[in-house]
């Protein structure tokens, strides 16, 4: 039925830091199908961004990847050489960063930055555009990102634009080179709430019109709920649950997901919810078994010894917890 676009299996990423090694990603497994909208949720520092950076291979120098199977349309991304990687980045996958202020080069006009991206994206498709064609294409992309007066935007420096406009510029640049998969890393978190809402609506509209896939990273559960088809829940470098959006929000299985959903204050009353007690574990010495054990109300002896695997709880709802299956 669905063709798999991206398939990530048992991805591990560690970071070498002063005083040891941070074992951040622990066997992350996820898939994205063609034209599918996938959400990835979890609290800050759980490795959402690291997972995405690993997929397009832009991890920092101190990252170690002991184990990784990343396939994009059946091709092994980890084994790609420079030109294959460039092709992937120019024509298939693109990433929108969390903070548009940091993601735009402060000392170049938008014109410089978007022109280069458009130029090389088209070059990869065998189209050597003239300066004028590049400008037309850039303006078209800025319009698609719902920016008014694109000509004026081109002649601005990033610091002359508002946060929302910067993020739209980043979206326009990403659109130039994302024909198959768009990765949006908390695209509204650094903006105020109304702008965040606009940005998410825009992204949804764009991916539906273009029929591309998207991975939306967020910790705004409400935003994810109205946007994506399927959700992955991440905790401390592990995927703990995955399900269709409706199923996940109505029948969360993993204790962490339950806690996460319960932590959202409700308009219907009940005051400020308690949230999940405790903290994300120390990545230098993570628990041997389930990484959620330190905060879990259902912790059992087996959770200490063994890492839970993802089991199917029916209806494509998978969960990594010993309370279910086995």
């Amino acid at each position: 039925m669905n063709n798999t676009l991206l398939n990530v299996k048992e991805l591990q990423v560690h970071f070498k830091v002063y005083g040891g090694i941070l074992k951040v990603l622990n066997d992350v497994t996820l898939t994205v199908n063609e034209k599918e909208k996938v959400g990835l949720i979890g609290e800050s520092g759980c490795g959402k961004t690291t997972t995405m950076k690993a997929i397009i291979r832009i991890l920092p120098w101190n990252a170690i990847v002991p184990k990784a199977k990343i396939y994009f349309k059946g091709k092994d991304v980890m084994k790609m050489n420079d030109s294959e990687l460039k092709k992937l980045r120019r024509s298939s996958i693109s990433m929108i960063f969390q903070d548009p202020t940091a993601a735009l080069n402060p000392v170049f006009k938008i014109r410089d930055q978007i022109f280069d991206v458009v130029k090389y994206a088209n070059l990869e498709m065998g189209k050597n555009l003239s300066k004028k064609e590049i400008e037309e294409e850039a303006i078209r992309l800025l319009r698609e990102a719902a920016l008014p007066e694109p000509e004026r935007i081109l002649d601005s420096y990033p610091f002359q634009l508002s946060g929302g406009m910067r993020q739209r510029v980043c979206i326009a640049m990403a659109l130039a080179s994302a024909r198959e998969l768009l990765i949006a890393d908390e695209p509204g978190t650094s903006l105020d709430v109304t702008i965040e809402d606009q940005i998410l609506r825009l992204l949804k509209q764009i991916v539906e019109e273009r029929r591309t896939s998207i991975i939306l990273i967020s910790h705004a559960l409400g935003a994810v709920k109205g946007f994506v088809d399927r959700v992955y829940v991440m905790y401390a470098g592990c995927i703990v649950e995955s399900a269709r959006t409706f199923d996940l929000f109505h029948e969360p299985l993993h204790p962490y997901t339950k806690g996460l959903l319960a932590a959202v204050p409700k308009l219907t009353g009940g005051g400020i919810p308690e949230g999940i007690k405790g903290r994300v574990p120390d990545y230098m010495n993570p628990p041997l078994g389930c990484r959620f054990i330190t905060r879990c109300v259902h912790a059992m002896p087996i959770c200490e010894r063994k890492q839970p695997r993802m089991v199917n709880a029916g209806n494509n709802h998978e969960v990594a917890c010993f309370l279910y299956g086995e």
Binding site: K86, R89, F97, N105, V107, F159, A176
Partner: protein, 341 residues
Amino acid sequence: MRLATYLAKRIGYTIFVLLGLSILIFTLARVLPGDPARMALSPRAPEWAIEKLREQLRLNEPLPVQYLYWLRDVFSGSLGESLVTRRDVLTDITEFLPATLELLLFALIFDVAIAIPVGMLAGRKANTWVDNLVRGFAYIGVTIPAFVFAIIFLLVFGYILHIAPVVGRLSPGVVPPPRITGLFTIDSLITGNFSTFVDALSHLILPSLALALGPIAQEARITRASVVENLNKDYILASVSHGLPERLIVLKYLMKPSLIPTVSIMGLDIASLIGWAFLVESIFNWPGMSRYGIIAMLRKDLNAIVGVVMVTGLVFAIANILVDIIVSLLDPRIRMVERAK
């Protein structure tokens, strides 16, 4: 604000700074012990001759009056007579300044040509052996003063290896090119005298390199640090994630923001270059303004001391205006803020 208005404003500030500097150095030169008139004439000169010279130099007037006389002379295009050369100090300086400027110019060329590529390379290869090597040499360069390098170069390359000449601006017997700018390399090129150019250039290499090593080390370190910092910035990751060619990322998107701190530091380093030039010129027997200044100080040649300091101040001020312009070209944020003022 247009560039012209900005420049006019900066030049206005500079005039005030130079006026302040002139008052300071004018007073300092005169309150130091030692009678310039007695030092100019021989120790056994008769008292009436010394008194006559003091009168002529207006040394018996109160200090503010002396200063106003000096200022009047400056506006009529004279820096006063030197007691050593018996010529107008301005004439002396126009004769000796080009040699120093040439030395500074080549030191700057070495500085920019070595510090920036080396710093960029070390930053991109951070924490590898290349980086460690660069950082090691940079520590040495930052800690050892220029005159020590000058002496080492003089001994090693001049007297032991005979690689390059170490005395003066030209080899004995080589006729200086006709004076156009006073910079031998440029003048000889203009007049098409290539062998003189090569000779002048070979004389420049060791002193200007000795002078440049400190700033090179300093700026390579600064460049490395900002490259390392910028490499981890999201905008560089974004450029990589868009699949731009590596050369474009490094030479355009990484280099421009990384050079902003380097160029700012360069303004400070130019000051140290001028300072160290005084010693390096002495070591290489370079007939420049610094040597003239040292003789002036030893002989307490009042007008020459003030003249040399003022010209040094002027060179420094001009260099810093240029640095500010380059920084504002590199960084639109600075440019816009300056214009908004």
